[in-house]
Every structure is written in structure tokens, then in C-alpha cells.
């Protein structure tokens, strides 16, 4: 851990103004502090945004839907009445992640920007293109059980570890940011990046930009949804594979489908073609399997993680079955429906 200075801006403008290339915003600190301890992040300055007013509210969005401030904690979102009524998929995904203690501290903005769990990324004693561009990727050919099978590059095969973001992707949320170049609204699908040749960049956020809110569109899928997470123990582990599924049904026929995968790529994995294919199809295991094929087309394993391809296929089908049947996975009962 290096020495750093500490700033606590009183409003957004000040937060943006004091930010530099060497500074980091800190919210709940549940990820950033660990990274600093591991010497992965060496900020010259920590900008504590937890006192910035106006970011800690959940409120109706102007065009319908819901706006969740960047500082609202994961727990608050998961137990908010409006969220549990209209966006139970989001609540469920959040409750599938971390532990109650962590969710109490973790914020919406921080969850979006949490970094990969790749072992090598955390170990400053090894090479890693994400941590030190150009140094190499020991996960390819190394321990890659938890790594990506989709959208990988020859420079990085890391995954984005969030559960919440998988639901936000399925719900087609938008990310509201402000910064040196002003306010921007970024569609969720464009917020996280694939690694390409710049694995050091997780998102499309520009330097000094700060997330102010996440906005959920009115379409809520509260009748037919599920968040199915498969992991190395029944609770408190990152996803090997997770599926956020949301359906709008007309009897047994699918009107609209949304599917996002977690644990398989550098960003929540959504393939519009798979969703388009499902609309108009009967809600059957056969249709779901075909959607899975589309979602997973091009999937590539690296040895230890090759099992994820088959696992993801099964998980997609099961999740869509759960959603169609209106029997979403409970995050309390560890029995899988």
C-alpha cells in the first residue's frame, strides 16, 4: 500500500474538479481498499465521494422507470419496495452476490466499477496486461478456471465479476455520468468493454468521469424473471456462470426476451440475436436451447474453464424455464428450482 492524500469534496463539481489521472474515487471501498493493499491500485489521492449530496437516493425517473443514485448501497437497492415490486430481477441479482456485510457497504457506482477477480491481476508479483499493459497474460495457459469463454482477446481473458450488472444489462439500464466533458448517458451495453488490446480499460468511462446514477427503463419484467448463479460454494462466491433472464409472455409464446450472462466475459454478455430469435417462439426447452446456442456461439475455453461452455448452456435453459414458469430462483433457498 502506498501513501496517498485524501480529499472529501462537498459536491459533484468539486469532485470532478479535484480528480486527476492519479486519483481514485472511493465509495464503499470494498474493492478499492483491497486493491490498494495488494499494490494493484496506487492512487496518489483518494477522493471520498460519500459526502457528495444527491447521489444516495432512489427516485422515479423522468420518463417512467427508476433512477438509482451512485451512492445507494447494494442492500438498500435490494430491499427497496419499488425495486422488489418492479425490478425483482435486480434485487435477486444483488442478493446473489457477496455477503450482507459487503452489500451494506458496497455502492451502486462501485459495483459497476469493481474490477476482475483474476488471480494474476491481484498479484503484483506476476505479469498481467490489465494491471501492467504489455507485461503478458499468465492466465492464458495458467489457472483460468474462473476466466472468460466469450469475447476474450489474446491479451486478456478476465471476466467482470458483478452480479448486479448482469441484471442491469438484461434490464437495459443506462449509466449516467458527469465529468470534465460534461454529462453523458451511456447505454448499459456500451458501459463495460471487451478487453481487446486495451485490457487495462474496463469501461468506456473517461478519465475523471464519475457515475452519478443508474436508470432503469419502465419495462420491468416483474412477472417472468430469474437470476440463476452457479458458483463454487452455495453462497459467497463469485459466479462461474450466471444468467439473468427476463421474459414477456403471451400465454406460452414469448413476446420479448432478455438474457444476460455473468462470469463468462469481460462484460455482462448479451446477444440481441438470441433475444430476437426467441420473440414469437414457444417458451419451451427447445427454443431456449437454440437461444443458448446463439448466445454461446464462438465460445472458447482455455483448459480449466472449458466446462463453462456446457455449464452456461444448461444454465441458460434452466434460467429461461424458471422465468417462464414464474418460479424465479430464490436467493435464500440454495436449492435450484
Amino acid at each position: 500500500m502506498n501513501r496517498f492524500s485524501y480529499a472529501r469534496p462537498n459536491d459533484l463539481a468539486e469532485a470532478v474538479q479535484v480528480a486527476t489521472a492519479e486519483s481514485r474515487f472511493i465509495a464503499g471501498g470494498t474493492n478499492l481498499i483491497d486493491l490498494i493493499k495488494y499494490n494493484v491500485e496506487r492512487p496518489a489521492r483518494l477522493i471520498d465521494i460519500t459526502r457528495v449530496p444527491g447521489l444516495d437516493r432512489i427516485e422515479p425517473a423522468p420518463g417512467g422507470g427508476l433512477r438509482i443514485g451512485a451512492l445507494v448501497t447494494n442492500s438498500t437497492v435490494a430491499y427497496d419496495d419499488r425495486v422488489t415490486a418492479s425490478y425483482p430481477l435486480l434485487a435477486s441479482a444483488i442478493l446473489a452476490g457477496a455477503s450482507p456485510q459487503l452489500r451494506n457497504a458496497a455502492t451502486t457506482g462501485g459495483n459497476l466499477l469493481q474490477r476482475t477477480r483474476c488471480y494474476y491481476f491481484y498479484d503484483s508479483g506476476t505479469a498481467c496486461n490489465k494491471r501492467e499493459p504489455g507485461s503478458g497474460c499468465p492466465a492464458i495457459g495458467g489457472l483460468n478456471r474462473i476466466h472468460a469463454i466469450l469475447g476474450t482477446s489474446e491479451d486478456c481473458i478476465a471476466t467482470h465479476p458483478s452480479d448486479m450488472c448482469v441484471a442491469l444489462a438484461a434490464l437495459a439500464a443506462t449509466v449516467h455520468v458527469t465529468g470534465p466533458i460534461g454529462d453523458r448517458v451511456i447505454p448499459f451495453a456500451d458501459f463495460h468493454r471487451l478487453p481487446g488490446d486495451r485490457p487495462d480499460r474496463d469501461t468506456t468511462l473517461e478519465k475523471g468521469e464519475i457515475v452519478t446514477a443508474v436508470e432503469l427503463p419502465p419495462e420491468d419484467f416483474s412477472a417472468h424473471y430469474t437470476y440463476l448463479k452457479l458458483r463454487d460454494r452455495l453462497s459467497y462466491a463469485f459466479a462461474l456462470v450466471s444468467v439473468a433472464a427476463a421474459l414477456d409472455l403471451d400465454g406460452d409464446t414469448i413476446r420479448t426476451a432478455r438474457i444476460a450472462l455473468g462470469g463468462v466475459a469481460h462484460k455482462p454478455w448479451r446477444i440481441p440475436a438470441a433475444e430476437d430469435f426467441l420473440s414469437g417462439q414457444p417458451a419451451t426447452a427447445e427454443s431456449f436451447a437454440r437461444a443458448a446456442d446463439t448466445l454461446l456461439s464462438g465460445a472458447q475455453g482455455f483448459g480449466h474453464n472449458t466446462f463453462k461452455i456446457g455449464l452456461a448452456r444448461q444454465a441458460i435453459v434452466r434460467a429461461l424455464q424458471q422465468a417462464a414458469a414464474g418460479t424465479p430462483q430464490s436467493q435464500i433457498d440454495k436449492r435450484i428450482r
Partner: protein
Amino acid sequence: MSTTIETHVGSPRRRVDGRLKVTGAARYAGEVAAPGLLHGYVVSGTIAKGRITGIDTAAAEAVPGVLKIFTHANRPNVPAGDADYQDMVAPPGQPFRPLFNDRILYSGQPVALVVAKDFAAARHAASLVNVRVEAEPHATDLDRLRDSAYVPPEKREGIAPPPEPRGKADDALAASPTRVQNEYRIASEHHNPMEPHASTVIWEGGGKITVYDKIQGVKNSRDYITAVFGLPPDDVRVISRFVGGAFGIGLRPQYQLFLAVMAALDLERSVRVELTREQMFTFGYRPGTINSVAVGANPDGKLQAIRHEAIQGTSRFEDYQEVVVNWSGLLYHCDNIALNYRIAKLDTYTPADMRAPGAPLGVFAIESAIDELSYALKTDPLELRLNNYADTDENEGKPFTSRELRAACRQGADHFGWSKRQPEPRSMHDGRELVGWGMATGIWEAMMMPHSARATLTAEGKLEVACATADIGTGTYTILTQIAADSLGLRMEDVTTRLGDTMLPEAPVEGGSWTAASAGSAVYLACEKLRQTLFQLARGMDASLLGNASFEHVQFRDGRIELRTDPSETVSIAEVLRTAALDRIEEHETAAPNAETKEKFSQYTHSAVFAEVRVDEQLGVVRVTRIVDAVAAGKIINPKTARSQIIGGVVFGLGMALHEESMLDHTLGRFMNRNLAEYHVPANADVPEIDVIFVDEHDDKANPLGVKGLGEIGIVGTAAAIANAIFHATGRRIRSLPITIDRLMN
């Protein structure tokens, strides 16, 4: 008329140190304060093998508050000889010598210690130390090195090598109509106690130091320090009052102790060195194991042959050994047995004893093979075991001091409802989930070690018992208090137990499940001596009511000595001391195992574990939904803490079965999942209801108390029982632990 006294021993009692622990009043090695305390932060190496070509410390030294940076190049003089670095638990070989020279022997090796006025400065400076290295080829993959495995030329003390072969295993196997032959593997594990290793060295002036160390035996640290640093024993006091879990990794002095003492002596200041969670992965671990097992039986289910060979890794510098295969010769009656144990050198640190070292690994293999045999024979796995029950220790040709394993099997089965099991795999369902029931037996040594204790009674009627052993969370403080309170008929509140200090009567390291038997017996004997002394004093009192009584005629109750036949004939202990004009009576005693019994008998603890799992086959998800563990462990001193020990052991076994794995990147020769987010132990959701049954077992030979120890038996059969249940559920035999989703899906 005689009165029965309700005893503390045998009754559930709360932990006497529980309040101290939950309120934070119990201070651990890294929490002790001292004026002017300096903080050391360890710089860990990153390559597995090679040479340090240079260490740049300039930037680190420039950090305000940094006092000194120790490396191999500037460290104070220490002896070169291996003998000085030995400790009570060291395997044969050359112990690791921190900062000794420029050689890198394993990844994560400490290469420098930054000492600063505050922890933050030390940590920051440590990140600025630049270590230049020249790497050499290394090898850490046991699979690739298995052909280089050898029978350890020098036996590790206290570790029985495999017994000589009996009969002709190969021939008998070839002639057996039913055979099972397979390889069974277990991943490397790290102990991961909650409390990371730490040493706080208090500089007392004049060359004297008091060391608060995370250690399972203060004598081990003290002897190590005096030998390595050439200090007289009187100048070194080591204290370890509370240990926040250890599971064996606190048996040997670890490098933070060396570094803290070195810095304190050099700087003549108090120094603390505390390791990070990540650094907890830079020394001992449970070695990954490859077992090859073959068993053969006749159609009547009688075992004809057992062959069990195990290979484990060790370091380049020490020949670590544990008992992996011997259990196969102890659990079953079989005339043809060949057991073999070999180790292979890896470029890692030396493995370390971890809860029931060796046993769950070998037992997973043999108990899986026996389970496989039961299906091949189409017989019930439990009945197959009972059909081949060993009534004596056939490894050594001795009777057991006691062995209620059969009762454990029966009682466990009854409690579990085993008779309702459908024999066919994949025959039990609950909705989408497959249900499986499996069982396995467990075995662990019931050892006793020479052990001293002191008992001191004050005029106020307060009793203090003391010995140097450690309570690593097992409940030693509590059971010693119970034993002592019963002896003198006192309330537990009137008894204080002191542990973990080299100023106290000598004890071996706390391990091997021998502490209850050893420390318990020593305390019992010291209190017994105190009773005798008190009785003699009481008899000698003027007009003593007990004047004509003999020792057998009296009992101690409520702070008084009374005639058994007439409790009104009584005198208070306080009065006895007052009359004798004594403000205290102190007695010492040493308990030792009876050599003759040891020669004639074998002493083991046993268990029968029954597990229920539910498996979602399509998604590879296993839920353990029920475990019954029936344990035969002699007398149970405290059913409450005893139950906790077994539950803890079972959870350990569950972790071994499904979760725990220290992942080595063989290209880097480095363990990579060095944190508790990626090194998985069972979470609450993974742990089902665990029913613990203590089977009545009377043992009048093992030790004066008839106890056998409980710290380890809980883990032993658990992983095998769960793996067997998964087979019963799915028809898939997974012979590699942990059984993770990917292994179940493939």
C-alpha cells in the same frame, strides 16, 4: 448415607474464555502493545527458485519513519548450522533459514523485512523495495514428478512409517473374484486460521525479551529462539495465551518469529511482525496427495487383499512425512496387505501438519475403494465394513485399549435412518434433485504425551491450575477448569486456568488431539496431590473430625472436605489453610503415558460418518443436506465443547470434499488463490445440520482420565462419506477432491 456429587466433568459447560473472546479482551499475539513498538513488514519473493542478485532499498529507506531494512546482505549474524534451526516438530532435513543467503527456495519466500515506526510506513516502504532475481528452472507439479518419489530415508519423529507387508497382497488381489483398483487424489490445502501469524517481541532491556507468538507450544518457540540467536533460556519468555485457530500451522515457529526477534535484538527495541492473509500462503500447507488403492474380495464379501500407496510432495530442504496409508491396515481385517508411502521433492515450502495430518487423505482413498467394492459386490457399504471389522490392530498385532467403532456404525446408522436407503445409485430423488446417502468410517490416534502441571490453592479457597500448553480454540481452558474444580469440589468460578507461557510447567506442543489426555491428566494428578496434602493437614488439626478417616473416606465438596458416610463431619478448606498458617499450597505433577500399556495396546479414536447429498446433475450443484457423525472417543469431558470440536472437524471435511484447494500455477511455481475470496472454505449455506453422537466408550488404559481427544477425528471420514453419497446420488464416482462443478459436469 452417602451423597452423589454432580460433577463438572461430563456436563456441558460454557467456555470459560468465551466472554474474553467475544468482547475482544483476549489479546492475540499481534495485538499486544508496547511502548515505542516498531512494526515490521515482510517483503515476499515472487519466483520459485533462483538467486537474489540485488536488493534496492534506497527508495524504501527514504520513507519517513523507516528505521532499517533487513535483507540477507545486512542481517545480523546467525548460526549457519541446520541443528540450530530445528524445532520440536521439524521433519528430517535442513529447516528454512530466513534471510540466510541469496538463494530463493520457494515462491513467497521472505526476502526482506522493513522495520518502521508505524505499520503504514513499513507497508508503504515494503512496496518500494526492489528485489532483482535470477530465476532457475523449478518444478512444483507432483503429477509430473511422481516417478521421482522415494521412501523417506530418515523417518520423521512421531510419524509411523507403513508397517511391513502382511501376506501376499499382489497374489491375493489377482486371485480375488472382485477387485477395485483406482487412483484417489486430494488437492493441496492451506490452514487459513482466522488469526494470521504474528509475533510481538517486547524488548525488556539487558538482552531479555518477552515474545508474544502465535504458536501451539511456547516451548517450541523459546527453544528455537535460544538456539538460533544464542540466548540463555532465562532471557527469553514466550507467551501464547490465545490462539485464533491454528489447525497445525502453529506447531512450528514460522518466519515472522525469526524476523521479529532478529529485528528486536538488533535494534534493541520492541518489534511486531504480522503477516498478511496473502502471506499466510507462503509457508506450510497440507500436501496434495495421490493415492493408488486396490482391494479384492471374495463373493462372501470377505476382504482378501488391500494395497494402498500414497505419494505426497515435500520441499527441497526437508522430508516432510505424515501417516497416510497405515489407516488402511487398521480399519479392516485382511491377511494380505501392502502399504507404501513415498514423497517427491518440489520447489515449494515444506508441507505442514494440518488437522488430522494424513488421515482424511488416506481414509478418503480406502473408504472410497471399499464403497466401490460394496457396489461391485452388490452389498450394503455399512455391512461390508462390519463384515470385515478388525477387532485388533493388525498393523502392530496388538489389542486396542478400546474400540467402539462397531457401536458407532450401528448408532450412527440408526440415527441416520440408513436402513431406508435404496441400494441402487440414482434411485433416490426429490423433485429435480438426485438424493444420495453415503457413509465412511474414520480413525485417529488417541495419544498422550508427557506433560506437567501446577495446582495452587489460596487461603481464600481459590484454585489456580497452570501449564504451558496452548488452547487453540478447542476448549482446553474450560476442560482443565472442569477437571480441577471437580477435584477439589469447587465451583468453576473459583478455578482459574493459566496456559501458554514458558514460565509455566512444561508442556509439549498442542496437537495430535493429545492435549485433553495429557494436560488433563497432569492437572488431574497435580490436583490429586493437592487433595492429599489438604487431607493430611485436615487430619492433623486439633480435634479433627476427620482424624480417624483415611483418604478414601472423604470427599471434596463446596470448598469443604467431608466424610463420605457423614457429610456433617466436615471442615472447610479455608480453615485447613488458616490452621496450618499457610496462605497457599502449591503442588506440581507430571503425567506420562504408561510405557507398559503403550507397549501392549494400541490407542485410537473412531467415528462413523453418514452423509446425505442432493445433486442437481445438469448444473453440477451439490448440496450436503444432512450429516450424522457417531464418535467413539472415550470419556467426554465437556459434551458442549466436544460437540463443537466435532462439528468444526466435519465442516473441515466438507470443505475438503467440495471446496478447499490451493491452486498452484506450475509455470510460476506459485499458489495463486491466496485470499479468502478465492480460497473457498464452506460458507454457512454449505453447512447442513450436523448431528454428533458420542458413543459410550470406557477406556481404563489409554490414560488416567480415559479420554481420547476430539480435535481431529471429526474431519477424518467426512470427505469420503460425502464423495460416497455423491456416487450414490449420481452413479458418478469422483476420485479427485474437491468435487467442484467442473469435475461433476465432465
